[in-house]
């Protein structure tokens, strides 16, 4: 009794406790943010900005996800609808397959963390438009058939099972404490009964009824959809049994499966023998690849001026390489972005200026003197300062209001820079992305990274790309330029409008050229006349001379009007690039918008447990911020924790370590720390406390995998790491 009431108490109080906690955390979020944050005075506004931006990013990505998944989800929905309708008044072919469970195999790719969102929106959509009965299952909660059944019933019947279970549990504790017995509740028969009562068809419950009779009131028979989120991870035996059971109830329960597959569709065949897979009628659906997904996310979130927060090249590189090298997960990429955002607003006091132009102006006026000093200390501002004359420099250093004015201009400049940067980047990408061997990268993110790093026009890749562009054929070039024009057209900035007009003019010229070429194909003729002359000459010297002349004239004349125009176009593009694609580091005040600490991001997202253990052992100061532990040149202070000392000592040994020697050394070091003579009475007896401490340190090292016991020599342990002193 006591135990049952205790557990019940837990269940009753848990939710309310949770709620309280939640409230607290929402309140506390801000104080978490402001706690230990640089420049505390503006932290509130920064917190608000950060939250706003994050919410914006979140909704944007969710929309994007919906947009991208729409196709596949739509076709899936259609499939479910079709299945449930043909079930009722099917034609011959579907009747032939009536004994098969309709199954959608959804191939989603290996980026498993992203699948959750897809399945969530899928089940929501299904609930809204097809059927209220949707259950999604994860492999880790369905270890055995019993659990699988239980989950299915729980999810489909909602709280019904839960309540009964709880009661059962109670009873059980009272009675015997035997393992849960849920035969009455956890079988598909129970589900059938529940379903028929739900659909209000009493006749359904008698097992004799067949499909034909159930077609009478068809609209009350929504399908029961079961989603297996990660098919690969399911135990094949469990899955097979479940499908076998389900197929027995198919005439009473309009079941439908959706398999989430990460690798390839042949997994189904590998997991299910023919006797089982023949019970399924599988249709295949394929989702968008994750790299495409990332491209769109980057396009929407990063390559746009509407988000004031930016990543610098290195951070971007870290995030992209985590994606490409490690997990292929867009969700993790966005998490990384969130981390960078949070870190930026947390650690950069001037980030209060990182917002829309107008708000930034207001924020600028409210900056404190300390913040203005921070502006003066910014490296980019210093660079800007050095370019000014002496008078101006003094003004900026001393006059706060003047500084604010200048900063206002600089911020405006930064916004303008962003407004022009992205369209030009896109133009350059459209021009270069189809070149052979992709000198500037296939994806726009690669080009973006190059541009963030350095002056792109100084790079070899850019030169070679330009050379290739200057060899393009007419129609190719025109279509590319037209695409560029499409990119530039909607941009509202003045310079881009100008550029658009110029580009249009160029295109017009190309078109005129086309028309002209049709009228007069005369170039060929001119070229042929010197050849006629050539035939007359017989003198060798003359011949040589004419040949040379011909060569030269050909070189000069080779520049057809099209070529001239092409060069002009390329110069125009080159000009655009040089004007607008300079790296952000060159802009004053760029630190306001750009987050640049790639090491932090890497440390947080791509953890290296071994390195941190090593660091903790060799320099404990970086974790235990105690001044007495501070040490120079990599040595360990003798006041360090026991394990650090033991670790340091073991580094000095070879492959095999004599435990007694180790203990001696350890005790010497520790006694020195305590200021004692290591062996005061000379008896050679070890202090028992020290002995115990040493043993503990050694077993900790063993646990961490630095040493292991060996049978080669008694009283020795083997080192498992190389290197050391």
């Amino acid at each position: 009794m006591a135990t049952s009431s205790f557990s019940r108490g837990c269940f009753v109080f848990k939710p309310s406790a949770k709620k309280k906690k939640k409230k607290k955390t929402t309140v506390d979020l801000e104080s978490y943010f402001t706690d230990g944050c640089e420049g505390a005075e503006s932290s509130e506004t920064r917190f608000k900005l950060c939250l706003d931006l994050w919410n914006k990013i979140k909704t944007e990505t969710e929309d994007l996800q919906d947009e991208l998944n729409r196709n596949i989800l739509d076709s899936l929905l259609q499939f479910t609808r079709k299945c449930s309708s043909t079930r009722r008044h099917g034609n011959w072919a579907s009747q032939m397959r009536a004994s098969e469970i309709p199954t959608a195999a959804l191939v989603l790719g290996v980026n498993v963390p992203d699948h959750d969102i897809t399945f969530q929106s899928l089940s929501e959509l299904l609930r809204c438009s097809v059927t209220p009965h949707v259950a999604s299952l994860q492999a880790k909660e369905c270890g055995a058939l019993k659990h699988l059944m239980k989950r299915v019933l729980e999810r489909l019947m909602d709280a019904v099972v839960d309540d009964e279970e709880e009661e059962e549990e109670k009873e059980e504790v009272q009675h015997s404490g035997a393992p849960l017995h849920k035969s009455v509740h956890c079988s598909l028969r129970a589900l059938c009964d529940w379903y028929s009562s739900k659909t209000k068809k009493s006749s359904c419950s008698s097992s004799g009824k067949k499909r034909s009779s159930s077609a009478v009131d068809e609209h009350q028979q929504p399908p029961v959809v079961i989603i297996f989120k990660d098919l690969e991870a399911f135990n094949p035996k469990v899955l097979q049994d479940f499908i076998l059971i389900c197929s027995r109830y198919l005439d009473r329960l309009p079941l439908m499966f959706i398999f989430g597959i990460a690798t390839s569709p042949s997994t189904v065949q590998r997991m299910l023998p023919h006797s089982v897979s023949s019970l399924l009628c599988i249709e295949l659906f394929q989702s968008l690849s994750c790299t495409q997904h990332l491209t769109t996310v980057i396009d929407k979130l990063i390559l746009t001026h509407s988000f004031p927060f930016k990543l610098n090249g290195k951070v971007m590189q870290v995030l992209v390489s985590i994606f490409l090298y490690h997990d292929f997960s867009v969700r993790n990429f966005i998490k990384g972005l969130q981390l960078a955002l949070l870190e930026h607003f947390h650690s950069q006091p001037l980030s209060s200026l990182c917002c829309r132009k107008k708000e930034a102006q207001i924020q600028l006026q409210q900056l404190s003197a300390g913040d203005l000093d921070r502006i003066r200390q910014l490296p980019s501002f210093n660079r800007f300062l050095k370019e000014q004359d002496q008078q101006e420099q003094d003004n900026l250093q001393t006059d706060d209001t003047y500084l604010k004015e200048v900063c206002q201009k600089l911020l405006k400049g930064l916004h303008k820079y962003h407004k022009n940067y992205y369209p030009v980047l896109r133009c350059l990408h459209t021009l270069t992305s189809s070149l052979p061997r992709y000198p500037l990268g296939k994806q726009i993110r690669e080009l973006h990274l190059i541009c963030l790093e350095k002056n792109v026009w100084e790079s070899e890749e850019y030169q070679s790309a330009m050379k290739l562009l200057k060899m393009l054929a007419k129609d190719e070039l025109i279509s590319l330029l037209q695409k560029c024009a499409e990119v530039l057209q909607p941009v509202k900035s003045k310079k881009m409008k100008n550029a658009f007009v110029q580009l249009e003019e160029l295109l017009d010229k190309f078109k005129q050229l086309n028309a002209a070429a049709e009228l007069a194909p005369s170039v060929e003729e001119k070229l042929t006349c010197p050849v006629k002359n050539l035939q007359k000459k017989t003198d060798l010297f003359q011949l040589q001379k004419t040949l040379l002349e011909m060569n030269e004239s050909r070189r000069a004349k080779r520049m057809s009007p099209f070529e001239v125009l092409r060069n002009e176009a390329m110069e125009f593009v080159d000009g655009l690039v040089k004007n607008h694609l300079s790296p952000p580091e060159s802009k004053p005040l760029y630190e306001v918008c750009y987050y640049s600490s790639s090491a932090t991001v890497r440390r947080h997202l791509n953890a290296t447990p071994r390195t941190s253990i090593q660091a903790a052992l060799s320099s404990p100061y970086c974790y235990i911020q105690n001044d007495s532990l501070k040490s120079e040149d990599g040595s360990v202070s003798n006041a360090a924790p026991d394990i650090c000392i033991a670790h340091k000592l073991h580094l000095e040994c070879g492959r095999l370590i004599n435990l007694y020697d180790w203990l001696e050394a350890y005790s010497t070091v520790v006694s020195a720390a305590e200021g004692n003579d290591p062996d005061p009475d000379g008896s050679g007896k070890m202090d028992e406390v020290k002995h115990a401490r040493f043993i503990r340190a050694v077993s900790e090292l063993e646990f961490l995998g630095f040493i292991k016991a060996t049978k080669k020599k008694t009283d020795h342990v083997a080192r498992l790491t190389w290197g050391g002193c």
Partner: protein, 425 residues
């Protein structure tokens, strides 16, 4: 119709319906009927019916039970994860809910027998009750006394147990001995019988002759490779629309020309008999190749090398200056059989990582995500964990991908795997 079922004690009309539903199984049905006797007569205590998949075992029994309205319960042994579920289903359908609720929490066989006896004395049945157990081979895994008890359940009451299985009785016999059931074999359908059964499922908008000519063609193609009725039904349904196309367009009616038309489709379907829709799509081949993260690809390559190369050869492949280990020395003492014929061998995590670090072209920090990639490769079933889940200390893996797969993967990362494989030296 030949072989109409006749048996005293049953309604002639019902028997006619039964025989209509059981084409080509009249002999077996008649045999069953005569074993069962009249409804109130005792049947043989237990019957064991065996035969291949889709040879009509469950169908015959179920149709007999349903059409003749005999008291029965059909239990699938797959569904009965515990014997409790079995007892409950039996009691539920014979005596209703209240009997089932009498069962204690985890009932033993004697609980079941007790309740059954008690109930049957309260509600004696005039007719023989039948317990039909499908997939009976799973009973072998249930508790030892369950099967022997079921076989002689008749000692309680007028009840018979019918076991259906794909496995012969010899494989069932418990070593403690038991009551021997009566064995009944359902042979496979012959070609003519298949033709008859398949033709029965004709499309109502086409004539019977037309459809049976289609089935004839279908059987002509597939009978050599597939005699499974269900698979054939599937194939028939799948290809019929193609067969009908010329007819629907009003062009052809001649069987020969229709055959010409359908032949290539059937030939194509031949490639994928037994493989359902999944494999039909072009996507299946080579889909997974390009969609692994960069390091995962190298981890998989390293795993493959570790699985198929003997550990002692690692030095030769991965140490830059491996000294005087000559190829010939290696080849001389090697085992005759190729490692690829023997299949993948297990390897410890350390070896995998060591090979990984030496094959990957850049310096990689041993980050947590490298390790998590290994475990995600395991969940994707590209690697398998050989040692027990609980063993945290140096787990062992096997690589579960084929040579074709791995060479395609290594091609995407410009890694020449053949050069590193001991078998191809």
């Amino acid at each position: 119709m030949e072989g109409l079922l006749e048996h005293p004690g049953y309604d002639g009309e019902k028997l006619r319906r039964v025989s209509e539903q059981l084409p080509c199984r009249e002999v077996q049905a008649g045999m069953l009927l005569s074993l069962m006797g009249e409804p109130q007569q005792y049947c043989y205590p237990s019957l064991f019916i065996y035969g291949h998949r889709a040879s009509g075992k469950s169908h015959v029994v179920n149709v007999l039970m349903k059409e003749l309205e005999l008291p029965h319960v059909t239990v699938s042994c797959v569904e009965c994860v515990s014997s409790a579920l079995l007892f409950e289903q039996v009691l539920l359908s014979f005596f209703g809910c209240d009997a089932a609720s009498l069962l204690p929490r985890s009932p033993s066989l004697s609980d079941f027998v007790r309740i059954y006896k008690q109930r049957t004395s309260e509600f004696p049945s005039k007719q023989t009750r039948y317990i039909v157990m499908e997939q009976a081979e799973l009973l072998r895994d249930a508790s030892v006394n369950l099967l022997p008890a079921l076989l002689r359940l008749q000692e309680l009451d007028n009840v018979s147990v019918i076991l259906l299985s794909e496995i012969v009785w010899d494989k069932f016999r418990p070593n403690t001995g038991c009551f021997e059931p009566l064995l009944l074999h359902f042979p496979d359908y012959s070609k003519a019988e298949l033709l008859q059964i398949l033709s029965a499922g004709r499309n109502s908008s086409y004539s019977a002759e037309f459809y049976s000519s289609y089935i004839n063609i279908l059987l002509g193609v597939f009978y050599t490779v597939c005699r499974d009725l269900r698979e054939l039904q599937h194939l028939a349904a799948l290809n019929f629309s193609k067969f009908c196309e010329p007819v629907a367009e009003g062009k052809e009616t001649e069987t020969h020309k229709l055959w010409k038309n359908i032949e290539p489709h059937l030939k194509k379907a031949m490639q994928t008999v037994y493989l359902r829709e999944v494999s039909r799509s072009e996507l299946s081949s080579g889909f997974a190749l390009h969609v692994l993260p960069y390091y995962s690809k190298f981890l998989l390559i390293a795993a493959y090398l570790a699985s198929y190369n003997p550990a002692r050869t690692d030095k030769r492949f991965f140490v830059k200056h491996h000294g005087k280990i000559k190829k010939t020395n290696f080849l001389k003492k090697n085992e005759k059989t190729s490692n690829h014929l023997l299949g993948p061998k297990p390897f410890p995590l350390d070896r995998l990582l060591a090979i990984f670090y030496s094959v990957v072209d850049s310096r990689v920090a041993p980050t947590a995500s490298i390790f998590s990639q290994i475990s995600s490769l395991v969940t994707l079933q590209l690697l398998t964990l050989v040692s027990h889940d609980d063993q945290l200390d140096s787990p062992k893996y096997k690589c579960a991908v084929s040579l074709d797969f791995i060479s395609a993967i290594s091609r995407t990362v410009n890694f020449d795997i053949v050069k590193y494989l001991y078998d191809f030296l």
